[in-house]
């Protein structure tokens, strides 16, 4: 149970601990992660397209993202004419916060988890659904019909992909018998006979996650050709940055959750000699997460964009039934064994 278990005794202490951990996670991951990811994205996409990514700023362009961020901060916050001021400003915050809240549940290393909620996985789904409201409010508040349309489409997309996501989470819960992420990681690797349904669940989870994060091939909402920049087309730098933060944050969080649920979290194939269990866990966890991220980016720059009805159709008519059947099969297998 590690450090968390001891401190749990006193209620107040618990809260303090949670706050400290939260601070650490946010600063490191919330900011560092997306920044790095933006750069990584541009580097990988360039590499795929046989071109060199940004390499002027800093060694090999590493500082490119930092430079962009600084640029965004200077820019003036433009407020669209007769836009709904309150909503316009609240929306980006909501999206960013939602993305960040995901991390509360993810166990980086044995014992390293912000709050081991026993409804962990469910909490993740719940929080991820908050972003939809933010997008909608943003789309509506910018008083621009393109942004409104974009918002509606992305909301529809995210809502419809929540279901398959939820099912795959339920599947994992049924197999491991618990919702808490930590216990799920401990329960892995799953027994062999369950592998087929787990693999299917994993695939479904991946597709749903990319859709949740509005990434290509599901990035229709802000498809450049059609809807200019989607729901955040009106947003000036600062709020735009928050949206970007939210987007990449949720991408990173989903892949982290993927690793915890399917790739065994912090459990590596072999013990890294010389370091404590925590560092070992951390290393494996990060390796796996970034592998997944790389995979997602790789997918983004290879597959063409899906039309909106194909998009929704895929979710409702393919993923949902597959995951339902998969859940059923898994349930049976669990019961039978």
């Amino acid at each position: 149970m590690g450090v968390g278990g001891l401190l749990a005794a006193v209620w107040q202490v618990e809260i303090v601990r949670m706050v400290v951990l939260a601070a650490v996670v946010f600063t490191f991951l919330a900011v560092g992660g997306p920044l790095f990811l933006v750069l990584a994205e541009r580097k990988i996409s360039a590499w795929i397209q046989a071109r060199v990514g940004p390499k002027h700023v800093g060694p090999h362009g590493l500082l490119q993202t930092v430079a962009d961020t600084l640029k965004l901060l200077y820019k003036e916050n433009i407020l669209p004419h007769r836009a709904d001021v309150v909503l316009f400003s609240v929306a980006p915050i909501l999206v960013a916060v939602a993305a960040l809240l995901d991390w509360v549940v993810i166990p980086f290393a044995p014992g390293w988890v912000v709050r081991d909620l026993n409804v962990g996985v469910l909490y993740f789904a719940a929080v991820s659904s908050l972003t939809v409201i933010g997008i909608l409010a943003g789309g509506w508040a910018s008083n621009n019909k393109y942004s409104l349309l974009g918002a509606l489409r992305s909301a529809a997309q995210m809502v419809s992909y929540e279901l398959p996501l939820g099912f795959s989470l339920i599947l994992v819960a049924t197999i491991t018998g618990t919702l808490s992420t930590v216990r799920i990681v401990e329960a892995q690797p799953y027994p062999a006979y369950l592998y087929p349904s787990v693999v299917v669940a994993a695939v479904v989870f991946l597709i749903a996650a990319t859709a949740e994060a509005n990434r290509i091939p599901f990035d229709l909402p802000e498809a450049e050709a059609e809807l200019v920049a989607g729901y955040f087309s009106e947003y000036t730098p600062m709020r735009f940055a928050l949206f970007q933060l939210g987007e990449y944050g949720s991408l990173l969080a989903s892949s982290a959750l993927f690793t915890t649920l399917f790739l065994g979290g912090w459990k590596g194939p072999f013990q890294i000699p010389g370091v404590g269990p925590v560092v070992d866990g951390l290393v494996w966890f990060l390796l796996k997460t970034y592998a997944v991220v790389f995979f997602l980016m790789w997918v983004r720059w290879t597959y063409p964009r899906l039309r909106i009805d194909q998009l929704l159709g895929l979710s409702w008519k393919v993923l949902l039934p597959v995951s339902m059947v998969n859940l059923l099969v898994a349930g049976l297998l669990v019961v039978v064994r």
């Binding site: 209620w11 107040q12 809260i15 709904d84 309150v86 909503l87 609240v90 909501l94 909620l117 026993n118 409804v119 469910l122 909490y123 789904a125 719940a126 929080v127 659904s129 908050l130 939809v132 409201i133 909608l136 409010a137 509506w140 409104l148 509606l152 909301a155 809502v159 929540e162 939820g166 919702l179």
Partner: protein, 164 residues
């Protein structure tokens, strides 16, 4: 004033203010969006009441689904644009009286009812208990609810579908 009381009052304030906004605000979208803090407040209350599972469900369904749905419908039915029409109908004062009276009466009744001794410490919370009780003693409720869901699902699709 320990942390819990503090949290309770904060959340209570959040809920009441949010509720007031929902009820009062002239702009429908505002009302819809202000629904979110109310619900989050309620979710917080559940956390205080050690009902993590219900909190998660509250978040997932209420905030994630229903509010989104309401927003959707508002946008679809240009509720938002029809701002010119006064949002409140003619029976406001009467409504105020009635709801106020009701609240007061509820207070009086609820407070007077002897609810029995407050429970001591709580056993460690375990969502499995909820699941188990849903499927053991209250399986009938569970099944009926599933049936209702199915009915609403089909019903909603049929009603809302645009006739070709």
């Amino acid at each position: 004033m320990n942390a819990e009381a503090l949290a309770f009052y904060a959340l209570a304030a959040m809920v009441v203010v949010g509720g007031g906004l929902v009820v009062q605000s002239r702009n429908l979208v505002h009302a819809a969006v202000s629904l979110v803090p109310t619900l989050l407040g309620v979710a917080g209350l559940y956390v205080l009441l050690h009902a993590e599972f219900v909190t998660a469900i509250q978040l997932l369904i209420y905030v994630g689904a229903i509010t989104v749905l309401i927003l959707f419908v508002i946008l679809l039915t240009e509720g938002a644009t029809g701002l010119r029409v006064p949002q409140r109908n003619e029976q406001v004062p009467l409504a105020l009286v009635v709801s106020g009276a009701l609240v007061l009466l509820l207070w009086a009744v609820l407070l007077r009812v002897p609810w029995g001794p407050p429970a001591g410490t709580l056993p460690p919370y375990n969502p499995g208990a909820v699941g188990r009780s849903l499927l053991m003693p209250y399986v009938l409720a569970f099944e009926v609810t599933s049936l209702v869901i199915l009915a609403c699902l089909v019903g909603a699709i049929v009603i809302a579908r645009r006739e070709e």
